[in-house]
């Protein structure tokens, strides 16, 4: 069940110049609704004339024990800048949980799972990795960024699987884009999950489709509502225009029109 909740900020840490990690819990001690990997929230950034609409942000991590929701924010405009300015104790209004989830693999044949993230697209992969591991799968992460400074939460990712990295400037991991990483040649993955800039996801989808690897991608289309009523967030799929906020954000690449 979707809810509109006022959550309280327990921590807001600047990870680098452009990224903040916000941790939230319920204001009244009640349990947060359950959230699954791939789902997102819609945040109200009040008090700004330039942020009339809510902002969609992925569930970066959901700590059931601590009743805590993590959001990884990349500062790109007024809304995300305001989010980064929230202080401990401040109240944030959210709609949650929204969207569908990544699908769990069927245990038998899929155990070489690769999670490929670029930029802030790594956000939903942390909670996905955690969940996969909890369900007994073994996971590898392939994370790409412009440079070392922009590779975030590596310690966290390391808790749930092997972490491979690429940086565009070669300051960490292999130099280049995620899709050029040597692991893609050396290991035969059975399923790939990806989130990041569209050109990156399209490359990943091509790679997967060429090798007939099952692949799911999480999209970030522009959204006005986040829960299926405005019909603004559509992706043109084989079934026509469908809403990314309700039928997605996670899609099997077979439904998308990215390849050919």
């Amino acid at each position: 069940m979707k809810k509109m909740l006022d959550l309280v900020v327990t921590e807001n840490s600047k990870l680098n110049r452009n990224y903040s990690l916000i941790k939230l819990t319920s204001a009244d001690g009640s349990l947060l609704p359950n959230m699954s990997p791939g789902q997102f929230v819609e945040i109200r950034v009040d008090n700004s004339p330039k942020t009339f609409l809510r902002r969609p942000i992925s569930v970066n991590f959901f700590d059931v024990d601590k009743n805590e929701l993590w959001l990884l924010i990349q500062i790109v405009g007024e809304g995300t800048r305001k989010m980064a300015e929230f202080r401990k104790g401040d109240i944030m209004n959210l709609l949650l949980p929204l969207g569908n989830t990544f699908t769990m693999p069927s245990t038998e044949h899929e155990n070489r799972l690769l999670l490929i993230g670029g930029g802030v697209g790594i956000a939903p992969l942390l909670y996905l990795g955690y969940t996969l591991k909890k369900n007994g799968f073994s996971v590898s992460f392939l994370l790409g960024a412009r440079s070392k400074d922009d590779l975030l939460q590596l310690d966290e990712f390391g808790k749930y699987g092997d972490v491979y990295c690429t940086t565009e400037d070669g300051s960490y991991g292999e130099k280049g884009y995620v899709t050029n990483h040597s692991i893609l040649e050396s290991i035969n993955f059975s399923k790939i999950y990806t989130c990041g800039p569209k050109p990156m996801m399209v490359s990943v989808a091509k790679y997967a489709s060429d090798r007939k690897i099952d692949c799911e991608a999480s999209l970030e289309n522009l959204m006005a509502c986040g829960f299926g009523v405005c019909l603004c967030c559509v992706e043109n799929t084989s079934e026509g225009n469908i809403c990314v906020c309700t039928e997605g954000p996670v899609f099997n690449i077979n439904r998308l029109k990215w390849i050919n």
Binding site: F52, L53, N221, L231
Partner: protein, 303 residues
């Protein structure tokens, strides 16, 4: 709640707060957030005779205290509505009103005729004002002559409450309002979106795939309120006011200007519970000001 009830050309509302077409889905999308039975009525998504896939993405742009949309009436068509959606929403304890759009007069008529069979649909809203589809919609709503024709034709096949939704993109909205009143519309609703545009200066391209789109949200409220007031002074049929309503105070402004009821559109995205908050706010205002019935307030602006 009786002091809030009102009759709009035969349509009985438990309160004057309704939700606008295209911003409230089919109601069920909001069931997690609000008790739908507390709302006066739900105007469902624009429905056309045939399935429409809508316009290409991108379909929205944020603007100062508002947004542009270019959805283009994406919907699965009236037959799908009748067989797949209607059964699941018909028993909501509120009024379900279908917003009917079309490209030709025949489209409107055929669509209305099909909906006539649905017992739990007490009213339709003729959308002659959608700015987002090339072939029609707004073209009907910007000339008194073609507006009359559509209304006249639909009136032949629809004998429940007929609401006509007017376009604000006109020199004189009262002219269109009078024309549709003359053809037997039971009520007018206004305003639909204002035609607007946004440009991405880095790509040097329009933000919307359709170049222009419909502007809505608090930014349009002053224009909407003015049009409701002008129309109130020009026609005798009831007016359903909308455009930028974001709080109960806004709703009261529309009612004072002459609206018998109001619709909330874009603000449902910002606060999905806004509709019931507006109901509560109107009720307290009546109490605080010792007003026995909402009907005393309608058009009671002191000039």
């Amino acid at each position: 709640m009786d002091k809030l009830s009102i009759n709009i050309g035969g349509l009985r509302l438990k309160n004057p707060v309704m939700t606008a077409s295209g911003t409230f889905g089919y109601g069920k999308e909001f069931a997690d957030f609000v008790d739908l039975s507390r709302i006066g009525g739900i105007f469902v998504k624009g429905t056309t005779i045939r399935n429409r896939d809508g316009n290409a993405y991108p379909r929205m742009a944020e603007t100062p205290m508002g947004m542009l949309n270019a959805v283009g009436l994406q919907n699965k068509g009236v037959d799908y509505f009748i067989s797949n959606i209607y059964p699941s929403i018909k028993d909501y304890n509120t009024n379900i009103i279908v917003n009917v759009s079309g490209s030709t007069i025949e489209d409107y008529v055929e669509c209305a005729a099909k909906l006539m069979g649905l017992e739990k649909i007490p009213a339709i809203e003729l959308n002659i004002s959608c700015p987002n589809v090339k072939e029609g919609g707004m073209a009907f709503g910007t000339s008194a002559c073609s507006a009359s024709e559509v209304v006249k034709a639909v009136r032949q096949v629809w004998n429940k409450t007929l609401i006509v939704k007017l376009s604000p993109n006109v020199t004189d909205i009262t002219e269109i309002a009078r024309a549709v009143e003359a053809e037997g519309a039971d009520a007018v609703s206004l305003i639909n979106t204002l035609l607007g545009m946004a440009i991405d200066i880095n790509k040097r391209k329009p933000v919307l795939s359709t170049v222009t789109g419909g502007l809505s949200g608090p930014c349009v409220k002053p224009v909407a309120l003015r049009m409701v007031w002008q129309t109130y002074n020009a026609v005798k049929i009831p007016i359903i006011g909308m455009g930028g309503i974001s709080c109960w105070q806004d709703a009261i402004e529309f009612i004072l200007a002459g609206a018998s009821a109001i619709q909330i559109g874009t603000y449902n995205f910002i606060d999905p519970t806004i509709s019931v908050k507006v109901v509560d706010g109107i009720e307290s205002y009546l109490e605080k000001n010792n007003i026995k019935s909402i009907s005393e307030l309608i058009g009671s602006l002191i000039i």
